[in-house]
Symmetry: C2
């Protein structure tokens, strides 16, 4: 599948690399066509690179791996026409580091980045996922032992199914994938970043994730 | 130990009952001295009941089991003099049901109920805990199988130790108790209620809890 990964940071590089390794044709999108990080990534992996618009235009599916504070501008640069009808896997969090660490978790319009994007691009199919863990765990859930959870929020069942298939290809087992419901449920996982940052402070630099444990047998 | 449980709702009744069963002398506090729920509880368990002020005055430790939207008023009714120097175990969440279900999670002054209470009663020692699960799991963690987590936030080490001892008496194992740090970390767990409400919607009426799973061996 042709996939655009928007964003050249750690998260974008990690997701793009994994997507190449599981067989996709990946183009990394950035603000400018000559972004050095994107060019280096493309040279090392055999992937492509270009502007946000270049990447989105040829993609069948788009991954938003940009910071949540700039994601709206990035998708505007990608262009509504190139997002129309496509699944947009949104892994962003909106973190304001202007007052130091831990950053403040920003909720656009009191809601979520995911809803902000969906509102701006009503013909795109936004799915929020993977935004509650570090990027190493995103693409290699086995780094954290036993049962733990990745959440899914979105309004379009087909887009969620497509996203679930991607998660499965990353190594997530069906029982680890928890569908929280419609896109406004992304408010809950974006708000979770506050806990993640505190846990990072308490646990130190170790891979960790949250697990939903129920009284029902999950095995 | 003499313990005041402020609040006569499901959470207050559950916590007060457990505290009696593990050997404490418990007084349930409510707005009026003749609250029917509190009187019934006291008659059934051998505990005491009275106004918020009555309950707090004689207590060595206070549990705030009122709704977070009214907790400040409740502690004001209890009286600063009766809270001074005491550990206040705050299990509240501020939920606004005025627009239906799921309720909106309210963060007083953009922060947390716990911080709001600490600011109003600087000589009390607020500890936030147990606010991320249903009241049955609070006092009987074994209802949820395997490893799962209760969080702790507070500025006073002695108050946290006292709270940890209570949690231990409820059945929480040391490795299940995660200290998130200072009281502002309560923002993270109060915000978690948004996820809890979504999980409740997705899982239905089953006992569940979140577990922090790390790459380190927790056994």
């Amino acid at each position: 599948m042709k996939i655009a990964v928007l964003g050249t940071g750690e998260v974008g590089q990690r997701l793009a690399g994994k997507l190449v390794s599981v067989g996709h044709e990946v183009t990394m999108g950035s603000r400018t066509a000559d972004n050095a990080d994107a060019a280096r990534w493309a040279a090392e992996t055999g992937g492509g690179h270009g502007t946000f618009a270049d990447a989105a235009a040829s993609a069948e599916l788009v991954v938003n791996a940009t910071g949540g504070l700039v994601s709206l501008a990035v998708l505007e640069a990608a262009g509504a026409g190139s997002l129309r009808g496509k699944t947009i896997v949104d892994v962003s969090n909106a973190l304001d580091f202007s007052e130091g660490f831990p950053p403040r978790v920003v909720t656009p319009d009191g809601h979520s980045v995911a809803e902000q994007l969906q509102k701006a691009f009503p013909e795109a199919r936004i799915v929020k996922t993977l935004n509650t863990m570090n990027n190493a765990v995103m693409v290699e859930p086995g780094r954290v032992p036993g049962h733990h959870t990745v959440f899914l929020s979105g309004d379009d069942a087909d887009a969620k199914a497509e996203t679930t298939a991607l998660l499965r290809s990353f190594g997530w087992a069906p029982e680890q994938i928890t569908d929280l419901g419609d896109l406004p449920s992304a408010r809950a996982t974006e708000a979770l970043m506050a806990l993640w940052l505190r846990l990072y402070g308490a646990l130190g630099p170790v891979d960790f994730n949250l697990s939903v444990v129920t009284a029902r047998d999950l095995s």
